[in-house]
């Protein structure tokens, strides 16, 4: 029986339970002429009865499903061992070949020896699946009977049901934790494998990055190939350019919009900022690579400068524009949290608006603005598509914005796209870079969120 059919049956049992329990309670209510009018609705008894058979059976089903594969593998391995079949070096590959034989033609194509193994595999698989089905179904039936027998008008059905729902809600809320754990686990696990091959020091402080040359076995771990410093410098260079563009422009936009702009200007500018924020990064990347980069190159050449066609400047500029709305909305929040009394105090002394803003508002809002800049920096560092499309692939160690540099995110994409063998040092390196990226942005985010929260509390 397939899993979906089994689950369908379980649902059917649950539905049966629901109706039976509801019926039982309705009848009981009718017979017993209680003086109290307020009663728990019969449907809650139905829900409880249904969940009482459904949830445990599903849990058992998933657990059994989880152990099925390892169990079959161990069984079939011991069979191979007992038959003295010289399984090829790689047992996994051997098993995979047998398991993937799902059509008669493919089975016929197997060697005789493998066919025997296939037969055995098939037997084991069938019996295991039958056992699982039998266990789950009998458990479900037992629970249905037990639940229907146990349930009566004294059962606190609504409370039990609501507790179950609350548990489910809590589970949903905990997915955030599971996601974080999943991220940490996946990047950390693969990274430790990488650092097993490449010393962490040469990764962190090496100045040469050329993963492509490290394909040959004798070169794996040669310290020169995986030095990530050029990537870190490149990432910082582009992020720095982006912040140089976005922080002043974003901050000034926010100031202008909240302090000076007429309602017409605001009616135009706010949607423009929202649209800028909503444009997918791949569009910015396309624009940076095909319009901005050639333009900057042409401009540079007309001034007698040599500009790389994938200059850091082009990627940084466009990224800066992309982050403007982000900085602007954060600064807007922060500035509007400054109490009106400060503003009035300064204006009341005869200060001009700009003096009030520069000398009173911005200093008062500084912690919040710094927090916003940190968040923007975290955005810039983690931004991928613009740099993938507009920045270079070659790892040049330079801080000249007119040259091509590469970034951490570009390298992660390059190393992991296409059909790669998963366990090579090359793909593992991508996870090590991912770890660096995650840690950096995590630190920036935590500091920024903390700073901003403290700032807000100050004025609440």
């Amino acid at each position: 029986m397939t899993i979906s059919a089994l689950i369908f049956l379980l649902l059917l049992f649950a539905a049966f339970s629901y109706f039976m329990a509801r019926q039982k309670i309705t009848t009981a209510y009718r017979q017993n002429k209680q003086p109290s009018k307020i009663m728990t609705l019969p449907k809650y008894f139905g829900y409880v009865a249904a969940l009482c058979s459904l949830l445990p059976s599903l849990l058992v089903l998933f657990v059994l499903q989880g152990v099925e594969e390892p169990y079959i593998n161990s069984e079939i391995s011991s069979f191979i061992g007992s038959q003295n079949i010289a399984a090829s070096d790689d047992l996994d590959l051997y098993l995979n070949e047998i398991k993937s034989a799902d059509t008669p033609e493919k089975i016929a194509a197997l060697s005789e020896e493998k066919q025997a193994v296939y037969q055995r595999y098939h037997e084991i698989e069938t019996t295991t699946q039958r056992t699982i089905t039998a266990i789950v179904l009998s458990l479900a039936i037992l629970l249905v009977i037990w639940g229907l027998r146990k349930i009566n008008t004294e059962t606190p059905a609504r409370k039990v049901f609501e507790k179950i729902i609350e548990g489910i809600l809590l589970l949903a809320a905990s997915i955030a934790i599971m996601t974080t754990v999943g991220i940490v686990f996946s990047v950390l696990f693969e990274s430790t494998r990488f650092f097993g091959e490449v010393p962490i020091m040469s990764f962190m402080f090496g100045t040469e990055w050329s993963p492509q040359t490290a394909i040959r076995a004798d070169q794996v771990g040669s310290s020169a190939a995986f030095g990530a410093v050029p990537l870190f410098v490149g990432t910082m260079l582009i992020s720095f350019i982006a912040l140089l563009v976005s922080v002043p422009l974003g901050l000034m936009s926010a100031v202008y919009l909240s302090e000076y702009a007429s309602s017409t200007v605001r009616a135009v500018a706010k949607p423009v900022l929202e649209i800028l924020a909503g444009i997918p990064t791949v569009v910015y990347g396309f624009f940076a690579a095909l319009t901005v980069a050639p333009f900057i190159r042409g401009l540079g050449e007309s001034m007698g400068l040599s500009v790389a066609s994938e200059s850091a400047l082009a990627a940084g500029l466009v990224m800066g524009i992309m982050i403007i709305p982000f900085v602007s909305s954060l600064s807007d929040d922060v500035l509007s949290a400054v109490p009106q009394s400060l503003r009035e105090g300064s204006l009341g002394l005869g200060a001009t608006r700009s003096e009030t803003i520069v000398k009173v508002l911005i200093p008062a809002a500084l912690p919040g603005i710094v927090g916003g800049v940190l968040l923007a920096a975290s955005r810039a560092i983690g931004e991928t598509m613009i740099v993938v499309m507009a920045a270079g692939l070659a790892a040049n160690l330079t801080v000249n914005p007119l040259e091509a540099v590469t970034t951490v995110t570009v390298q992660i994409v390059t190393l992991l796209t296409g059909d790669q063998e998963f366990d090579s040092a090359k793909t593992l390196a991508a996870f090590a870079l991912g770890l660096m990226l995650f840690i950096t942005t995590l630190i920036l985010n935590v500091i920024a969120l903390h700073v901003v929260r403290k700032y807000r509390e100050q004025y609440e």
């Binding site: 009018k37 307020i38 009663m39 728990t40 019969p42 606190p156 609504r158």
Partner: protein
């Protein structure tokens, strides 16, 4: 939501806008409650009730009986704890995490704060009408039918229809809305909305109805209608009403309890309280010298 409720309720008891000359009178030594806090045929008996918001005590040692099928009015200056006390009677204070209730509150001689007491069942028996009309954003019919539906009070649609109609009639609203039962309840006028909220409460057929300044957001005509309604409802229900208006208390209630800074100062027959208060504070409040 808790914070909002809290702000409303936990105004520090010191916040009485008392003119300076009554400052002395506020420092009068508290004695035991004056008057007759006990009564026969009591629906509620509360004994030595103390309520705290975190470390802040909002109710001090209040003992009061609430007689069946009569209206008792709780009066006092704002922040005196009368709303807080009212909300302990159907455990609405449970929704505020930091709120703690001590003492004994008996409904039909059963402790409503006992472990096995289900607050949901309690609130079905002790309904509540709030200060601001708060109809659900649903139709008039659905507003009234909601309670009976969740409690399974009716077996079928026609029974439910009858119940809704009956509740609306009792609340004196039926004639005004019978042609638009399926129009949204939020479209009614303020006074109608409040009567809808009363109809909604009646439909659950509670034993006690708590009213927290039910007319404070209404105009005089709507207020008069509500008061008339309260007079009719006391035939079937026990009513506890918190009010700011002494005239209202005098008009609708049989007994009156005067609260001051979280303490119950005086309880008595309404006539006696308003004509011949026994406690100095009660007298000062009634004569309008603070509050």
């Amino acid at each position: 939501m808790n914070e909002a409720v809290l702000n409303e309720l936990a105004e520090p008891p010191t916040g009485v806008n008392a003119p300076p000359e009554t400052e002395d009178s506020l420092n009068i030594e508290y004695t035991d409650t004056v008057g007759q806090p006990m009564c026969e045929n009591a629906k509620f008996r509360t004994k030595n009730v103390n309520v705290f918001y975190a470390d802040n005590q909002a109710i001090h040692d209040v003992s009061l009986d609430i007689g069946a099928h009569q209206v008792i009015a709780l009066i006092g200056p704002s922040g005196c704890g009368k709303s807080t006390y009212l909300r302990t009677l159907n455990r609405m204070n449970d929704t505020i995490d930091i709120c703690r209730v001590e003492g004994q509150i008996l409904l039909d001689e059963q402790d409503i704060y006992a472990k096995k007491q289900d607050p949901v069942l309690l609130r079905a028996r002790v309904g509540m009408v709030f200060q601001k009309p708060n109809p659900f954003p649903k139709s008039i019919y659905d507003n009234v039918a909601y309670g009976p539906k969740i409690h399974g009070l009716t077996r079928n649609k026609s029974e439910l229809d009858d119940l809704v109609e009956e509740a609306l009639i009792k609340a004196g609203l039926f004639q005004e809305v019978k042609d638009r039962l399926h129009a949204p309840g939020t479209g009614l006028s303020g006074g109608q909305q409040q009567r809808l909220c009363i109809a909604r409460t009646i439909a659950v057929q509670p034993e006690v109805i708590l009213m927290d300044e039910p007319a404070s957001a209404l105009d005089p005509i709507a207020t008069a209608k509500i008061e008339e309604l309260i007079n009719e409802l006391k035939e079937n229900f026990t009513i506890v009403i918190v009010t700011h208006s002494m005239q209202q208390a005098a008009r609708v209630s049989q007994r009156t309890a005067y609260f001051h800074m979280g303490r119950l100062i005086e309880v008595g027959e309404t006539d006696q309280i308003f004509t011949n208060p026994a406690h100095e504070l009660t007298e000062k409040y009634i004569t309008g010298r603070f509050g």
